[in-house]
């Protein structure tokens, strides 16, 4: 592995260089698509009655967009704190396997544990996809610096985007505002479909999209959890059956 042998003598200087290279990746096409989805999120949060400070705070602390949209949904439906936490936790389980997959890519022989715990906060769909794609081209010792640059820049830049849009939202023409509210579902619809690992993921998506609004009418307040449990359960059964058929 030649990339690991040509580390310059001055480690802190090259750390900074790799940090900045990671930061620059935040302004790639996937980064800009994410920013457009955050434009939509700012409108959603304002509509739900959150203040500017609460909205920006939520972006920094939660970061993952699906989790935030679920949290806003829970706030809108008047859910209690435990119910909201449970719905958000269920929507964020995917973060654990994503981090599990990323850690071996990022870890060097001398990487400290707390660095990995700290950096894991930046894991969400976009930074994860970019990292899994780009980390291989980064010297192993510099991977944490690179990801720190990418992750922190994405979070900070989108906190700024959300603040600016929140302030400007009222002065937007209705057509622009309506278009912004369409950004979030379209971003999720396409990126979630693309990130599915197995066919069961697509089955789960189709079921969830139909069951969500259906259960919203039938059992309001239990729509997200119900759709997740029923749709996910059926998709998993589909996975087991198709695997059994394949091996038979």
């Amino acid at each position: 592995m030649p990339a690991e042998e040509i580390l310059p003598a001055s480690t802190s200087a090259s750390r900074r260089r790799w940090y900045l290279r990671g930061a620059r990746m935040a302004f790639s096409v996937p980064g800009l698509i994410l920013a457009s989805a955050f434009i939509g999120f700012a409108g959603l949060a304002k509509e739900a009655g959150l203040t500017l400070a609460q909205t920006v705070f939520m972006v920094g602390m939660v970061w993952a967009l699906p989790a935030k949209v679920v949290l806003i949904g829970a706030i809108l439906s008047g859910a209690s704190l435990p119910a909201a936490a449970f719905a958000v936790a269920l929507s964020s389980i995917r973060l654990a396997p994503m981090v599990v997959a990323l850690v071996p890519e990022m870890r060097g022989p001398k990487t400290r544990r707390w660095v990995l715990y700290f950096l894991s906060h930046f894991v969400a769909v976009t930074s994860w996809v970019l990292a899994m794609e780009r980390l291989r081209g980064v010297p192993r010792d510099m991977r944490t610096s690179y990801y720190a640059g990418l992750g922190s820049t994405l979070v900070l830049a989108n906190m700024v985007v959300v603040a600016v849009v929140y302030v400007l939202a009222d002065s937007m023409p209705p057509a622009v505002s309506a278009a912004l509210f369409m950004l979030t579902p379209m971003y999720f619809l396409t990126s979630l479909w693309g990130s599915a690992r197995e066919r069961a993921g697509h089955v789960a998506m189709v079921l969830g999209i139909v069951l969500g609004p259906l259960l919203h009418v039938v059992v309001p307040g239990f729509d997200l959890l119900g759709a997740g449990l029923v749709g996910g359960g059926i998709a998993f059964a589909f996975h087991k059956l198709s695997r059994r058929r394949a091996s038979a």
């Binding site: 959603l44 699906p66 389980i93 505002s177 309506a178 278009a179 690992r197």
Partner: protein, 116 residues
């Protein structure tokens, strides 16, 4: 214990911390802890991914069928057509997220311009 239950400046922030930060970073920290102890295609992970995917998909469905803001003033048929054509464009034109979003937005804005 809802978001608006306690009339103090800190309550919404505490609500966001517990229901938002704790509920997401707990999974990230668990991910670091488990490291490479779990196989990526173990059945448990498939089940976990399926549940999570269906839940997020339910959020997408609700955002399109029961939208908020100015989008609520458009017709359901227009939103459905916009999302469907955007998604088909994504599927057929090289699976680019950007293509899906642009097509959906163009259909939506054109529909609004012609009062569908």
């Amino acid at each position: 214990m809802t978001f608006h239950a306690i009339d103090a400046w800190w309550w919404p922030f505490l609500f966001i911390l517990v229901a938002g930060w704790l509920a997401t970073d707990a999974w990230r920290f668990l991910g670091v802890y488990l490291g490479d102890r779990i196989g990526e295609d173990s059945d448990l992970l498939v089940l976990v991914r399926a549940l999570a995917t269906a839940l997020v998909a339910a959020v997408i469905g609700n955002l399109i069928v029961f939208p908020s803001g100015e989008l609520a003033d458009t017709s359901f048929a227009l939103r459905l057509a916009s999302a469907a054509m955007g998604f088909l464009a994504y599927l057929w034109l090289g699976r680019k997220v950007l293509v899906g979003i642009v097509v959906a937005e163009v259909v939506l804005l054109a529909g609004m311009a012609f009062n569908f």
